[in-house]
Amino acid sequence: MNHRHAPTTESEQSISPARPGTSTLDRRDFLKVLGGGLLICFTHTSSWAQESGRAFGGHELPKELSAWLHIASDGRVKVFTGKVEVGQNIRTSLAQLVAEELRVPFDAITMVMGDTDMTPWDMGTFGSRTTPTMAAAARQMLLEVAAERWHVAPASLTAAEGKVTDLQNSRSLAYGELTRGEKLVKTVSSAESLMTATQWKVAGAAVPKAEGRDFVTGKHKYPSDISLPEMMFGTVLRPDGFNATLVSLETGVAEKLPGVHVVRDGDFIGLVAPDAFTAQQALSTIQAKWDVPAQSSNQGLFAYLKNNPESSRNDGPEHVSGSVAQAMEAADLKLEEQYTVAYIAHAPLEPRAAVAQWTDGKLTVWTGTQRPFGVRDELMEAFHLPPAQVRVIQPDMGSGYGGKHTGEAAIEAARLAKAAGKPVKVVWTRSEEFTWAYLRPAGLIEIRAGARRDGTLVAWEHHNYNSGPAAIGTPYNVANQLIQYHAAKSPLRQGSYRGLASTANHFARESHMDCMAHVVGMDPLEFRLKNLTDSRLQAVFRAAAAKFAWGHLKSTPERGFGIAGGVDKGGYVATCSEVEIDPATKRVRIRRVVQAWECGAIVNPDGLRNQLTGAIVQGIGGALFERILFTNGRILNPHFAQYRVPRFSDTPQIEIVLVDRKDLPSAGAGETGLVGLAPAVGNAIFAASGIRLPNMPMAPQSGVPGEPDPGLRS
């Protein structure tokens, strides 16, 4: 990206300097804002705990602090977490766990999330257990504070409903009263044992979405809804294609429009205007000529990925055991196949958006991102600022699905705001979002496998080119394995996506398992269970099959039934699907999906069902029709009219079977629920038609099984 470097140019310096505006919160003010009460900080390391006496004196909060919460004198609890709410319901489920461990009512809790000045450093990689663990430690500390006050032993006290109670002496104190209005900072580092899920009262229940009312009344402010006094509207001139260089530029007409400022810095050309309409109008008057080099296209993409390794990122096989070569030699039955997945777009309904404000050299940006601290780092680098001079605030946003890890709009808004000397809002258009965001990687997966006549798998070789290593290992028992991810030079900008490469690797593996079952002449479920000893995966396969009535259903040319499953990131999934194929048009419709799911103890069954249903629906797009088409550095379908996403009529009857393992820790459920759908649908199409569709999307032209897709075949 050519606009990442520092924005220091003559044109910018000639524009009036930033004016002092309203003050933004600084870390030094952190405690002032909270007022009196009890601030409890949680750290995994004991070193910082020893220094807690001078807590929060400096500008930067130490990274060792992984969570904190504040109990005000009125008993309101504020929990601070660097995690962000993007529709996955973590604002609700995390509050449930805190309410449970701290023993306060759910409604007493406010979650402060995704604000780099107010919340712990979090790159989105930490487990969500830190926050409830802190709450448990905080409860223990409250008991100790009360015990000290009353001169009794902590063990004689109980904590419930936001109060510490001394049953023997019939007295109690609300948490808020324990501080006597003073400001208390306590640090806890002991790993308190969490309650077991069987004891849960608030967690484990179907608590409705926190602040749900604001979403049906339009009151919730998304990043693109943020407005500041004197705010201007910014737009950025996009090149004609990727890797383009600017040949000529004519901005005279735009600059004559009232209130419009054109900002140029190398190949970055943007402008600000007093209103959004004028900003777009001004942009459209700019005449720019770009030199776009010849670049690759969908044609030949998969051969390109295989033949263009990114050697610096390839360090050998992920997994080798036994000898695949010898085992294949000896196998009774063997099969090789190539599978592919296309580049697809996240297409969150709210495109990238940011509002940036400079105040006395400090930059504050409201933006939609899944990594507020990562975006802060990007801004620090772009503008050469120390951490204390950049604040990123992430209002609950119009989702991301892994597509908003970066801070493009934040940097653009900040550059334009710096040049304009006023706050600036930048909201990407749909076409910009499709073109200038990043994509889920395309990939080629080659699998060869061998089995004995009795259905025992003996060899498994799996190569993934470019799409990624997530869930590349097989959960089935195979003595001889060679499993390898090959990083490649991607012709398009690519990045994270819900489930990462787990979708691609599961599609290939579970399609191939289905092929192998067919070759050895076994029922696909029976074949899987024969080669599986992971009891959690077995359990979801059996649960899905039972609900679906697998075994009582016989595929016909018009109606097919398929099954697939797998495990990733602590989530176990098995998916059964029923597809209907129109005999005349060959159109594929998914009619019914049954998905069994297990991710340990369930924190919120209602939110979980919503997540899993959403994952299935989203999976339909990648499975059947979503794909980015491109040539010569241009995206050819950057509109919803050309890039088809799942709609109401694509949605089958969906049944979710939840396996609640209260004896196991809870794992996240946002991603792995997506991976079973595509292979289950492909396997159902195969069961009906005898045609194996090895390329995702499988039916991009609204569905003709067996027809090669001219846009994707290499």
Partner: protein, 159 residues
């Protein structure tokens, strides 16, 4: 720039805007009614849906000039005296959202549908709502919410 008198949520608002500016842009950027969302600007996603004289309309495809004579209702105008409309209540009760960005448009689309057809079948709901995208995939709950709203209306709730 021209001056327009808009009837928004029962209130007359005077706004100065270029006549070709979209109603969506005027609502969001000049009147700060941000409950109406931008999703595509091309009438493909339904996030910007408002009611014009009771009919669901994509505000990204309508100029402020052509909306000047209509009664405009946005998501902010459905709640009456602190009471949610039956459709809003049904969406809340069914938990028919995830990130919620499509919700305003969905609710106004459903409001318009239920005005035309008090007791729609599932097929009618799917057909009428097909132009709305929920990228989080909450469609089954949205269909349930529309059905629930239909029952609430039949019971006279919120009338």
């Amino acid at each position: 720039m021209s001056d327009f008198d808009l009837n928004v949520n029962g209130t007359h608002l005077r706004v100065s805007a270029p006549s070709e500016e979209t109603l969506l842009s005027v609502l969001r950027n000049r009147l700060n009614l941000t409950g109406t969302k931008y999703g595509c600007g091309e009438g493909q996603c339904g996030a910007c849906t408002v009611l014009l004289d009771g009919r669901a309309t994509r505000s990204c495809l309508v100029s402020v000039e052509s909306a000047a004579n209509a009664k405009i209702v946005t998501i902010e105008g459905l709640e009456q005296d602190g009471k949610l409309s039956p459709v809003q209540q049904a969406f809340l009760d069914e938990g028919a959202f995830q990130c919620g960005y499509c919700t305003s448009g969905m609710i106004l689309g459903a409001t318009s549908l239920l005005h035309e057809q008090h007791s729609p079948t599932e097929e009618q709901i799917v057909e009428e709502m097909e132009g709305h995208i929920c990228r989080c995939g909450t469609y089954p709950r949205i269909v349930d919410a529309v059905k629930r709203a239909s029952r609430l209306l039949a019971q006279g709730v919120g009338q």
